[in-house]
């Protein structure tokens, strides 16, 4: 038997060095560059570099009419296209004091929630893939396809819908809509159990997410981290509850609040939210009232001079539209408060002193969409 030689261990000074994660990195899901300062594999600090797809949407809005702006909001957070459209529509309706038909309110709420489920499905499958579970990716995309098919049948588009217009909807939904949505809920209630079986209970995934990337409630509020990411830290920030719009004041659903503040809590909030969204849809889908799909609107929409702000709950957090109008058909200034921009600002704080491998899990749990950050 060979004798084990113990080499003298000296204190090794590890120099801090920088590594670029992105702009092309599979886990950033888009073009975002994170300049990470490392000591060994410990993240010392991190600087996000945004702007790779900055298109100046706010500047473009200043030349567009309000119905045109709706098409641009799709291109922010493309996975909550309906919800972003909804914000602009609500803002115009509020400024002009237009009451939309009940049917529109029902359909918008159902579509918003379908959009939220589709978005969370895509988040779940890509999060699973980031954790190394390729099966998740196929499961998630397979189920999301059902929602996209419903969307396609009713208004022709699968991703960038631009289906809402100020005052209502572009056209009525397809006659099959009600049946297909009910079929989907029945189908997805079964399938979501698989999600829990394959990933939530998985020991590797739990080890990689529990206690990782801690964000306290006070920090979440201070950084403006909203949506599922904020609610995973116990920050009650659901706009649907606190500033209800459309049908949200009339349906019953729970605001999911978890208090751990780690990556796993953020994961679980989204899992619960998909079930809550299904609950909302189930309460509405059987009672959609008959009627017009749009209110009567003038051909040219001019907002009275003044300032308006509308907040909605997008899939990733609070989406706000702030408009300064000078009475023309185009806004004087349009600002989008995008949820991902604020969520990203907390990334540096929560990934410090963690391992670089955890950065992928933390980034996945914040679920950032780059076009929404860059605008």
């Amino acid at each position: 038997m060979k004798e084990v030689i113990n080499l003298p261990v000296k204190d090794i000074e590890v120099e801090e060095y920088h590594i670029n994660m992105g702009p092309q990195h599979p886990s950033t899901h888009g073009v975002l560059r994170l300049v990470v300062s490392l000591q060994g594999e410990i993240v010392k600090n991190l600087k996000p570099h945004c702007g790779y797809i900055h298109r100046g949407i706010e500047k473009m809005c200043e030349k567009d009419t309000y119905p045109q702006i709706i098409h641009l909001t799709d291109r922010l957070d493309y996975l909550s296209a309906h919800i972003n459209n909804h914000a602009v529509c609500l803002l115009v309706e509020k400024a002009l004091e237009i009451d939309v038909p009940e049917r529109v309110k029902y359909l918008r709420t159902i579509l918003d929630e379908l959009n939220r489920i589709a978005s969370h499905q895509l988040w779940w499958c890509s999060f699973g893939m980031d954790m190394g579970g390729l099966t998740c990716f196929f499961y998630g995309l397979r189920d999301r396809e059902h929602i996209l098919d419903i969307f396609e049948e009713s208004f022709g588009s699968r991703l960038l819908h631009s289906y809402y217009t100020p005052g209502g909807l572009m056209q009525d939904v397809h006659p099959n809509f009600q049946k297909r949505v009910k079929d989907f809920i029945k189908y997805f209630r079964k399938k979501i159990k698989d999600y829990d079986d394959i990933l939530t209970g998985n020991i590797i995934m739990q080890e990689r997410t529990r206690g990782i990337g801690l964000l306290s409630k006070e920090e979440a509020i201070s950084y403006g981290v909203t949506g599922p990411s904020g609610r995973g830290s116990g920050f009650s920030c659901d706009v649907r509850k606190h500033h209800p719009y459309a049908m949200y004041s009339k349906v019953e659903f729970n605001e999911i609040l978890l208090h751990e503040g780690d990556t796993f809590a953020r994961y679980m909030v989204r899992m619960h939210e998909m079930r809550e969204s299904m609950k909302i849809i189930e309460q509405l889908i059987d009672n959609i009232p008959a009627g017009d799909y749009t209110a009567k609107m003038k051909a040219v929409i001019k907002l009275p001079a003044g300032e308006y702000l509308q907040r909605v709950e997008a899939a990733r957090g609070e989406f706000g539209v702030y408009v300064v109008s000078d009475g023309n058909k185009t806004p004087y200034r349009m600002k989008f408060r995008s949820p991902n921009f604020s969520n990203l600002s907390a990334l540096d704080h929560i990934s410090r002193e963690g391992k670089i491998a955890d950065l992928v899990a933390i980034g996945g749990s914040l679920d950032y969409i780059i076009p929404d950050i860059d605008r």
């Binding site: 945004c50 702007g51 500047k59 403006g224 300032e307 702030y322």
Partner: protein, 147 residues
Amino acid sequence: MKEKILSLVPGAEFQENKQYLTFLIPSDKMHELALKLKNEPEFNFDYLYCLSGVDYPKYLEIVYHLESTGHRHELVLKVRTAGRENANADTVCDIWKTAEFHEREIYDLLGIKFNHHPDMRRIFLDEDWKGYPLRKDYVDEVNIVEL
């Protein structure tokens, strides 16, 4: 609340707004007021949910949309810069961390420098970019829409 805020800041000006209680605050009083609004339990404005910059012909304006997560009341504060050249204002990012990114965005697109900001760089555009695109007098030489 209107009276309380007016008594806190002598120079504050109340503005009519249908949606929110709005005040115009003198630039040099903003940081002091923000600190009070966040820390005093009767206000407790701990959530800055929107921070925007607006370009007007004679000045630039910063708009703070605040909400209290405890009391659920909302408030809008506005600060005007002295002029359009060398525009500056005090940072509030030591009070609300989210302001750090939002102030960098305002600096990038509207050119308002925030004093005491820890990292006052452009956030979307390149460091050597000339001009501030969201200003009304910004000339874009390669605007595809106008070609």
